[in-house]
Amino acid sequence: MNYHWNWQIFFEPNPTGSGTYLDMLLSGLALTIKTALMAWIIALVFGSLIGVLRTLPSKAAGWIGFAYVEFFRNMPLLVQLFLWFFVLPELLPRAAGLWLKQLPNAPFWTASIGVGLFMSARVAVQLAAGIASLPRGQKQAATALGLTTAQTYRYVLLPMAYRIILPPLTSEFLNTVKNTAVAITIGLIELTGQARAMQEFSFQVFEAFTAATIMYLLINFVVVTGMRLLERKVAIPGYIAGK
């Protein structure tokens, strides 16, 4: 291979004047984490709402949940981001559209909301499955004790369901982190974007991508380790995962 390796490149100043190339990548890493956390909050909130809707006895609620999930699952994430970023401002009344377009950090908010809603459909499916996996007796016992439907969910079903679906939620969170890279297409310069920028400035393709790869692996490692600890902490006694 006649590729000219130069691992020192990370410590050379980058042409944007914001420090070294390494600083560039680290700022990308920070933005990736920030976007992923923001998206994850949105995914959890909306996913929980829709997941609960899907398990309610009401037919209408089930239908809304079904339509929501199908809507967000059957379009590529990239297309969804384009819809939020390019199409939505045009369809709104002129003043609102203009306000949206001039929003500072528009790519960040679009990416957070776009990836968040995309992931919320997956969270909803997981949560609905988690609730459905609980023995029927739990809901019946709650009703027999005089709890309202809201109380049943708040005190009985959801605390159990969230713990059961913790492992799949971990991988959904990792998917959220990975999916923020798609936002490179709407101009979010996160980790992959910074690696790409570094490659264009310095022509050191493989060093830039190797560094980004290692950073993604690190995120993965930290999240998986953290979630294992959390899983052990909240494990339900009497279940296989429990003590």
Partner: protein
Amino acid sequence: MLGSFDFDVIRRSLPYLFVDGMTFTLTLTALSALGGLVFGTLIALMRLSGFKLLGRIAGLYVDFMRSLPLVLVIFWFYFLVPYIGQWLTGASRPIGVGAFASSLITFIMFEAAYFSEIMRAGIQSIPRGQPAAASALGLTYAQSMRYVVLPQAFRNMLPVLLTQTIVLFQDTSLVYVLSIPDFLGAASKVAQRDGRLVEMYLFAAAVYFTISCLASFGVRRLQARIAIVR
């Protein structure tokens, strides 16, 4: 607003969108799914082979690929494949591979990691007595895999494999980052040329939505049909 919605730009670009764009997308999807399945099955067999080193390598590969965003992997291969080509053929300079070949290699390697996990689950769902019976009948390991285990694993996992293929179909839109005219890339080119972002992106979204919906509906029906009564 919708009052100024220009349907004609969609009608005019239909041949380009479907003959060029959708053909690229569907070909890439089909070939990647096929290649991903073949390599994925090999990786799954490596992981279950009982050779510790082989299993470790396969496991590392799968974990590695699954930790990276597809966009980054697409960039990696886009720049790496010419060098690999040079290394394989002993040429004096990196080889130009072309957009289609580069994205095909990327998707095969990437999807192999995901397909291998599905096939592994499928193989592990086969009762232990089956390979035992096969070897009692005198079948070699290869024969037992070929005639007993893999056909059943494949059949059991067919709905999951097809669902993953629908995900793959949606993911192929990411070749957009290499400015390749797949279906979305073609729509985006027309959108930018004619200044018709709203129409083209809404239309592209509708097409992806319809195809994915129909396909997952088909998978659900298939699942009901081929389910083995136990």
